[in-house]
Assembly symmetry: C4
């Protein structure tokens, strides 16, 4: 980067929590889903993993598959135990002449106990078998208490449901240029007091050593009362901007990363929700503006927001502005 | 609108999230229940719908009806499956000579399995039937885990329980005029640190194109410590008001919409609650004031708040104030 | 009140939400438990009552008694229904020769269905009885889903667990006087960022009409980082205090009420908790100071907080300070 | 402490909630886990204990052991009751010739009732036994409702999962000295808007009486946007620091205690989380700096945080800076 670095006048910030000298070459700092591009080690995996967080973030089908696998495994274990303690202690077993038949009866007795359905055609007798069945039903209740809690936690977890444009644009704005992204909510949720924050990470070559500098980007509007329609967030590229006079080449050269953080209040969760994302220089579009994504309904009675147009843009010519540096 | 527009001196705001140039003719921006008058499309309905939000907002009877329909449908499906795999695998079926009788037994066996009541007069036998019954009881437990979570989420969802007056009034106030609405809580809940915010939307004709401008309205008192009694929120119509010198005709002509947002802390949910509503120009009453809605109890020991009087007003003569513009 | 009213210089506030002209004679504004001394009417009781709030605030024994009564009533109803549809449809009824015996069997069959225990000695047969039993078990599951939710909501509801002194004292303070109360937490909970707010209500006679004026009281320390020990909240009675130069008689005469509001962050609920209380003039003690309620443990290793001494005070002579009004 | 006390110019604070004159000799104010070093007495233990808080803080194995013990005890009680009301009222008891056998049957019937598994081989008959069984199944459902709630509350309780360095260091910093600690999150949770607060407690000898003074310590960075990597919190020891020019001996002599409070927003709980800890003078390391705990992964694609190095430091020579006092 040349000595006429336009950012030399600007203060970078060191409270992003990313560590400016972390020397991250090539990899992005934040993934598109807002998680940090980071791995931890040094303590055992079970100590550095929150099972709760993991089960909460798991896709729905994996979650229910996990429950099913757990349920089947537990039944297998208990079926073996019932076999070991003597199948004759399970009264009411019918036509179980082979080992497979007897195991099947033990397996389904176990499942009837675990779910507390307890038809009772097969029932335990004797101290040991009764104890095991009694423990299994207790375990069943506790397990499903955990599952009930998890399912509730999964669907009641406050989420922002934000849809971001695929790219950030360098668009004409008030006779000069601006950096823009667009977002909207894609579900029937209702966000109010929505705040946006842009942080720009620029990788620089400082005497042969790659360092990362962070700059906050000022926004034309950083808070809206309600996120009813789409919101195009605009960083006006003035002289105070760290990307002032950047050419398309410099965007790539600086391997810039735009970190976007949105906080809002969700009416229905009555809670603060937060979503973050990041754009790398590969997602920049130089000289483009977003095309409208909402229109008046034919009968004029309501507004129609077209979610599939969130990333739509059209190429435009950028004004030639020369800085006075 | 004439060139002597009294609002030309005032700054309108563009951070309402509604999009000033959204061209919404005729239709209101916000519905009376605080939801946005907006439809979304462009992505499949299941992706743009939060089932959780939908089930939370559904009226109570629809919610329980949905559960009942779901329960019956699932039982029908499983009854068919049990019929397909052979009714003879359900031991204990009595007097089931016709198809209908056998289907009924399968149906009720299914319901006993799904709810885990499991009387056991009818019980499954054989690998396939046992597997299905085992899956059904697991499904029953998971389903009712979801239902338990939903019911809890429905009744524990923080709500403000605010009752708003039907109209907004233009009333005499301190020798001039003021715009007023009234509200109170209608349940035995306890709101503290209650904040109100008024935003006025005015539809204007700008060279033949209808545009919407938004103005914040200053309030005499915008925060009260506790919402014990009713609260009449007052916007004093001074020279700085966007509706200064508006006549009754101009209120209609501007097709104004008053967006009211209330935030408060609820003692019992220990959470922030929020409620919004909107008034259109059709709900304006020009020259009226609210009549009192609380009085001292006969024995002087407590205050009596009469909720049915929330919208009561009486006609009054407005002072003739002429602006100095 | 005389024309030399020392409060004439002070601004009273009108954002307490209580309504200054509410004309409340004799009765207090807020009860000691922080609820407002107010009744609502005008809309039906079921519309103005939040069942959720009611069940949450109910004492524990009433809550469990309600569940028991509900459970018994529902079983009675269903027992009658089973009798009406024919007891012969309940298979397995034994030795039920009298009506009472048959009713008993129906009653306990109902309870086994509602709780989904379903022993199965008695089991339903026939379309109608099966349908009713199926509905009852669904209803049982939904009911206990509600109960599970309520029990969780009851014990997880953020509460401050604050213990207030019985009286407010007028104590010597820095050569002059101060109004003081004392509080502490009485459970093993941990409050941080604790904020206190004092509002004084004074009933005045304004040309024969009783009006209520509210004054905020400045506090020496209004926020503490952590409420580990007890906290004596101090309002120094300077010239700017609305009770400056008040004599013991004037305290009664003004029928003052001190409204105390405490907000804090609870570590374990990870939530804001709030508790309010109010003191009337009858709880004033003129010329007293709190005696210490904590001491070092004999071994010096920890501090000992004696909760039963929260209200202990000793009489002291107040300094004679004369105002310069 | 000498009369040339460098802190005489500094204001200590009295809003820590600890009570400066609490005379705590020897013992620390706060334990390492952030709880206050305090005991309460004066009201009965059940009134000053929140069972909810206790069950929430209990280690996992103690929690599940408590449930198991409770379950077994309840079954014992009910088994006795069934014996008292006559084992002959439990139909279906098989081969129960001895008292032990009969008690066993009663015990397991009780467990089948409490968990609502209800096989039905044994079933109640007669008014009294039926009533008891009916109550037991109701009690079972309510108990497991409580347990479900508790399990959910335990795993959904917002926690910060912060790992602190074992020591606080006096390290070289910008030509002078600084007091430093280091922290990071050790689980896969995501903290944003992380705020740190340092409070220093110094025990002084004031005319033979030990008093405790509290000082806030200014931080170089007191808030970071995101706690992705580790964070070394730095208090620069300038002339305004209460530990300015402290020698290693003075650190011990003053028996200082550093109270650290961290507040953050957790993405997945969507809630504020808080964690506190405290360091005593015994944990001070004079002349040391933390060694790096993160590095670039070999492939350059992500950053690797080594949790076991959180407390690692290396000895360094401190600059000799002499104050101008």
């Amino acid at each position: 980067m040349s000595s006429s670095n336009p950012r030399s006048r600007l203060r970078d910030i060191n409270n992003t929590g990313f560590g400016g000298n972390s020397n991250v070459e090539g990899g992005r700092l934040m993934n598109a889903d807002g998680s940090t591009n980071l791995k931890k080690r040094g303590i055992p995996v079970w100590e550095r993993t929150s099972i709760y967080h993991t089960l909460l973030r798991m896709p729905r089908h994996s979650f229910f598959l996990s429950i099913f696998i757990f349920y089947t495994s537990v039944n297998f274990c208990f079926a073996f135990i019932y076999m070991l303690t003597g199948i004759e202690n399970l009264l009411g077993v019918v036509d179980a002449h082979t080992f497979a038949d007897r195991f099947m009866e033990a397996f389904f007795f176990s499942s009837q106990t675990l779910t507390t359905v307890g038809y009772g055609r097969v029932s335990p007798s004797g101290m040991v078998t009764n104890c095991i069945a009694s423990l299994e039903s207790l375990m069943g209740i506790l397990t499903f208490a955990v599952v009930t809690g998890l399912i509730y936690a999964r669907f009641s977890r406050p989420k922002a449901y934000l849809l971001f444009s695929n790219n950030f644009l360098i668009a004409p704005y008030k006779g000069a240029k601006a950096l823009m992204i667009r977002l909207c909510t894609y579900k029937n949720n209702n966000l109010t007091d929505v705040e946006a924050q842009f942080t720009l990470a620029i990788h620089e070559n400082d005497n042969g050593k790659s360092i990362t500098r962070f700059y906050p980007l000022g926004l034309e509007i950083s808070k809206v009362s309600s996120l009813a329609l789409s919101w195009t967030i605009v960083h006006s590229i003035t002289e105070d901007s760290p990307v002032y006079n950047f050419t398309e080449a410099q965007i790539s050269e600086s391997r810039m990363e735009l970190i976007v953080s949105i906080k809002a209040f969700d009416d229905h969760f009555s809670n603060i929700v937060q979503q973050r994302t990041s754009y790398t220089y590969r997602q920049a579009v130089y000289g483009a503006k977003f095309t409208p994504m909402f229109e008046r309904a034919p009968d004029g009675e309501y507004t129609l927001l077209e979610l599939d147009k969130i990333s739509d843009y059209e190429a435009v010519v950028l004004p030639q502005v020369v800085g006075l540096v």
